[in-house]
């Protein structure tokens, strides 16, 4: 069922269900009252990543806070896509973009990975989460991806579930086309690993190539920036073995 684009959509931590009423956070209250200029009775859409999408009305407002009253269910909660998206954090602007796009493209879990050439050692987890929520609010996505703490490259691989196929974008692949390798995959549990701007080191690439649960895919004859490669890889994965 398509999302409703006429109404404002907000992510809230609260449980959502019939007759539930609660006070919106100070930030969201301010946003509803002073940015959107909504008054009592105005309807919006709420989701929390657990209970699907519900319509709600501004039941009352004080100077500081808005009370929201749940009205009716709009869309059921879909399952989280079973795609673990592992990415080396980029510099801020491109990182924001990378995370927003991953949410739109149907990543289920966002896993920052620190590789040898990664320039951002500690991505701001709050900013990452804000980007996840923003993308979900704007694109009508109810299955809000889980955001994990950053992990070292070697640790990610040694702890990896061997039943889950890990796809990585390999500039040095012998062909240009990713479809044959992807269409040959049997696993339904998938992971995608996207390197930093500098790409993977030779050691990292060797390590990946040697692992039985890893598949290397090329992304055409041109060298892509990391954030471009991420969206392109998600597109061909979703179109071949994903949920498209």
């Amino acid at each position: 069922m398509r999302a409703n684009y006429k109404m404002q959509r907000l992510f809230v931590p609260n449980d959502l269900g019939p007759d539930i009423e609660f006070e919106a956070s100070p930030q969201q209250s301010h946003y509803l009252m002073h940015v959107l200029r909504l008054g009592e009775g105005a309807e919006i859409l709420l989701f929390n990543g657990r209970d699907g999408e519900w319509s709600a009305a501004m039941a009352a407002k004080s100077k500081k806070a808005v009370r929201l009253k749940i009205l009716a269910p709009q869309r059921p909660q879909p399952p989280l896509p079973d795609l673990v998206y592992c990415f080396a954090p980029l510099k801020q602007g491109r990182l924001d973009y990378l995370v927003q796009k991953a949410v739109e493209m149907g990543a289920g879990i966002l896993q920052p990975v620190i590789t040898q050439h990664t320039q951002v050692a500690r991505p701001g987890i709050d900013r990452l989460r804000a980007n996840v929520v923003e993308a979900a609010e704007q694109c009508g996505i109810l299955a809000v991806p889980e955001l994990r703490e950053a992990e070292k490259f070697e640790r990610l691989l040694s702890n990896w579930d061997r039943e889950r196929r890990l796809i990585f974008c390999d500039e040095d692949a012998s062909t240009n086309n990713p479809l044959p390798a992807l269409q040959g995959l049997r696993e339904s549990k998938l992971g995608l690993l996207v390197g930093p701007e500098g790409g993977f080191s030779d050691d990292e690439r060797k390590m990946l190539r040697a692992l039985p649960f890893v598949t290397a895919i090329p992304l055409g004859p041109r060298v892509l920036r990391a954030d471009t490669a991420a969206v392109a890889a998600l597109a061909v994965i979703q179109a071949t073995v994903g949920d498209w």
Copy 2:
């Protein structure tokens, strides 16, 4: 042949060939001398979108200008990809991104299109061109796409070469997967049309659907932002009927 990433790459308007020597523009001279801090004899890479890639040396520098001496050919000039990328201009930041990504993904011609819901009537052509050059410089792309003046939606369609298949991303397509429609295409001459944030109007969609040279493709179950849809569409097109 892969691009060389160690060396600085610059796009220049000048002809490139053996023993050619010329003065870099004031901006590029400043960049070479004061940003990169390169001295006489330092080597860089030059391309102009016509003569392939050449190594060059800083032959001499005055306070204001750098003289560049062509040394040797590095990579031959590849043909321009035969893919016309038609896009509704977005607001500035996303437009920059959209254009950069299109260059990376192998668009041959960039054609801004003004649709009913397009919010940006006159995209700054100089800024668009700067984004094209930046992406080409950074990604080692020698086939620099041609940038056309903005055109009205109806005019684009009435002047369209009917031998060229025009693919557009249709949110209302009956399936989620773009591959079957793309793999069925016979044409080698391709075009992609990406709508504005608001999507196409019902009239525009009707018009497109009625045209024999148009193919509608879906891009999965989630609604994608226009700039995300652009990269995703280019990825599946290049992987099925393009140059991947």
